[in-house]
């Protein structure tokens, strides 16, 4: 399977076989990501890291991944210090970054920005989140986390909870989980339900997701509970936000109804949707999930930049 110079814009650009290949290769990256083993397979390679929007985990884990592989990173985390401020188009910024590096990672507030970037770059482009659009590396690290903990994805009962309407991670994740044969249940406030087009995509893979409002009932036989933050910035009306924000909360009481080996995931940042008390329980996997961003991004960078296989 050849990934050299491939763009990573949407999880939908990858077949089931390709996703499984990346996830398998990610396993090999874990000891390197932890610093237990060392490599410099991307020595002399430069990654251009263009973050037009704030990010903690994604940016740091991309940088860590590139450094762990012996490569170097240039770029910015604040567009106010760049020519964008002077009115430069994204296309021109990409042309420049392309000439300075071997690959480009981009986070941008506008949907489609990463796809557009591929038209102005000869180097491969990796999408680190485009507005409410795609975030394929988050999706891959979520899949990797589930596989690591549950051995496989097929047949697992996975509950997606929270903002299923605007949350960019849950749309790609619902698609990928359906492709890989998981059973899906959606729990959200009425105004933040999973869009019909995402449900239809799940159905195309033979998955019939169920939508319920009772979280206790959903958690009862779940293998994975994937929680998302209700994003204040998406609400035009503060009153509506206040009405839905506390509607669902994952706490110790709720977990009394859960299976012993349930895992709780969250793309982070978390606000109020998971009680900090849950962090100490064996259910909480979100910090380990955040670490998995490093080996997943190492695997992708290595495959795309043609690093020697580990």
């Amino acid at each position: 399977m050849d990934f050299k110079n491939r763009d990573v814009i949407s999880i939908k650009d990858f077949s089931k076989e390709e996703i499984n290949y990346i996830l398998n290769y990610t396993k090999k990256m874990v000891p390197y990501a932890k610093g237990e083993k060392h490599t410099d397979i991307l020595r002399e390679k430069i990654l251009s890291s263009l973050f037009f929007e704030p990010s903690t985990r994604t940016r740091l884990s991309f940088e860590s991944a590139m450094n762990r592989l012996g490569g170097r990173v240039i770029g910015f985390a604040d567009p106010s210090a760049t020519s964008q401020k002077k009115g430069e188009s994204l296309a021109d910024t990409i042309r420049m970054a392309d000439s300075y590096a071997d690959a480009i990672v981009i986070r941008h507030p506008q949907e489609g920005a990463a796809r557009l970037s591929t038209e102005f770059a000869e180097s491969p482009v990796l999408n680190a989140g485009d507005g409410a659009g795609q975030h394929p590396t988050q999706c891959l690290l979520d899949l990797f986390t589930i596989i690591t903990e549950r051995k496989k994805i097929k047949g697992n009962k996975i509950v997606l909870l929270g903002d299923l309407k605007y949350g960019r991670t849950v749309h790609s994740l619902a698609y990928a989980l359906s492709l890989l044969g998981a059973e899906l249940t959606f729990v959200s406030p009425e105004s933040l339900k999973m869009p019909k087009e995402v449900i239809n995509e799940c159905k195309e893979f033979g998955v019939e997701p169920s939508s319920i409002s009772n979280l206790e009932r959903a958690v009862k036989d779940a293998d994975v509970l994937y929680v998302t933050r209700i994003q204040k910035e998406r609400f035009p009306d503060a009153e509506e936000y206040n009405r839905v924000v506390g509607m669902y909360k994952v706490d110790i009481d709720l977990l009394k109804h859960a299976k012993e080996d349930l895992i709780i995931m969250h793309p982070l940042p978390r606000v109020v949707e998971i009680d900090p008390e849950v962090d100490k329980t064996p259910y909480a996997l979100y910090f380990k999930q955040a670490f998995n961003g490093v080996p997943v991004r190492m695997a992708l960078l290595s495959l795309i930049l043609g690093g020697k296989k580990l």
Binding site: S89, A91, P109, E111, G112, A113, R115, L116, E119, G131
Partner: protein, 150 residues
Amino acid sequence: MKKLKITPIKNGTVIDHITPGFAVKVLHVLKIPESTSSVVSVAINVKSRIGKKDIVKVENRELDTKEVDKIALIAPKATINIIRDFEVVEKHKVQLPDEIVGIVKCSNPTCISNAKEPVKSRFLLVSDDPPSIKCYYCERETEDIAERII
């Protein structure tokens, strides 16, 4: 004797069965009159066996099929008739191309294709009838296509 509101043309193209009220938008999509100096006749709300329809006739010019197919975005039931010496020598239903470039504006205000970038809007066909298209950039399906024609 029954008199036709629009007389037959000797040579050219007749676009028939346009969704009533959409003839002007069809002209807009075909960039008429900018792209032609031919005589163009437009009939709106013409009675037909299956209700009303609009008709556009372009004289002395055989429109390029691919170009005309774009009108399927707003008039999926339209037919294209090529006329030579008063005879219909070619007839086909409009069919949307797999990719539609530079005709429709993405309905997502935060799509990068709506920013000041040097790209044309680009859509991929999801279904023919009713027409459904998805933005190549932001992957959202566009609603109210007729309202989004550039």
